[in-house]
Symmetry: C2
Subunit: 244 residues, 2 copies
């Protein structure tokens, strides 16, 4: 028995997230089919994360247990030769048998891309959120600092389970600007459902003066989802890195 | 009578180039329809350049004569509200009546994007040419220098008219690398049909040792299309800037 650790990238536009679902096309279903074909046995792949419909991944990890003796290089070529053009295997290596893409994960880094311009960008229609109003980057940076650290992020979670811990640690929340392209880079030890999209929506509400930068601390401590901003659209979000 | 100078960007993937054709969808046809609707009169738009099927534009200029008194800002909003998501109006201003997007043009700058990696990039499928072999950037830069200057580029033209001049001046041909992304930036006073794509194909042939870097000068002077490299695929090419 071997345990393969595989890195891939995918454009999430056409998929209902990573995780297999009835009656909806998912990344897991497509990848599993081609991985099984190359390994010549029916396998289940263990993904590092669910992702929402329309969310992308620059570096997504899955692990898969197999009896196959295929060299990693041939695995990459074989799977890439079968995959559609919106999914690409980047790396494959043998990992210890107890490695699990999801449970072994120590931290994750996400990117949220905004195209900030009055005119839309025809090249990033499904790859960045088009935000027309001027962005006060310094104000957004100041607001984002409130998220860094260990907090109970219940106010930044959609439909959270009452019984589970909603405390997470955010290591960094950087905001970079390059012309009309704004990149928010968030690294943390884990994220609640919709957490990054709600944090981004809250920062945009701060930009629009609907929420004061001074209120973010009290919104966090309130634990009240209603006080935070809207859930930002999924197509600006990328799982960027995963740390083991 | 007014003459509007309009800048736009488009993703060329779905279009058979800019110029109107029978039985094929073109950028001109789509833009003309919505511009006519906003100007409330049937107009013809004058594009700065034909572009091939699948070629993109970061900054494409067209001019249009109109009797409409619409303010440029309203023109942009009105047309953008009607256009599909792969075409975007960026700017609009009043220009002298003798301005013509094509005939007034002094120089053009094109970009050719290459994704250089064994694995494909799911985000640039139709936006960069996927080239798997290692690229010797220094060799390509050295080869590209041969194109700079005033030359008869007949060897770098598909189906050129025997009677027309094929002499053009290339002001610069830069090759930039950023991780797996390679950008070739070419500025010239004008370009023959397929000229940039043939130059790029020739540079890739140099990379593959099918053409020697020392032979480029003699290929240029031969005027023989057969001696130059293949025509590189269209989807890596962008009209990037236009100079008046």
């Amino acid at each position: 028995m071997r345990n393969l650790k595989v890195m891939m990238a995918y454009r999430g536009t056409k998929y209902h997230g990573f995780q297999r679902q009835e009656n909806a096309l998912t990344v897991q279903e497509v990848v599993e089919k081609h991985v099984s074909s190359v390994l010549n046995e029916k396998v289940i792949i263990n993904g590092c994360s669910r992702t929402d419909t329309g969310v992308h991944a620059n570096n997504y990890c899955f692990s898969v247990l197999t009896e196959s003796k295929i060299p990693p290089r041939n695995f990459i070529r074989g799977v890439n030769g079968r995959l559609p053009e919106d999914i690409s295997i980047l790396e494959c290596e043998d990992a210890p048998l107890d490695f699990h893409a999801r449970f072994s994960c120590k931290a994750k880094e996400y990117i949220y891309m905004i195209h900030n311009s009055e005119s839309k960008n025809p090249f990033t229609t499904d790859l960045a959120y088009h935000y027309r109003r001027p962005l006060d980057i310094e104000l957004i940076r100041l607001a984002a600092k409130n998220f860094v650290g260990t907090h109970d992020f219940r106010a930044f979670c959609s439909g959270c389970d009452e019984k589970k811990s909603t405390t997470r640690t955010i290591f960094k929340f950087d905001v970079e600007i390059n012309g009309e392209s704004v990149k928010m880079l968030v690294k943390g030890d884990g994220f609640l459902y919709n957490m990054i999209r709600i944090m981004v929506g809250t920062l945009l509400a701060v930009n629009e003066k609907k929420i004061s930068v001074n209120d973010i601390g009290s919104i966090i401590s309130s634990g009240d989802r209603q006080l935070a901003g809207k859930t930002a659209q999924p197509h600006g979000l990328y799982l960027n890195k995963i740390f083991y």
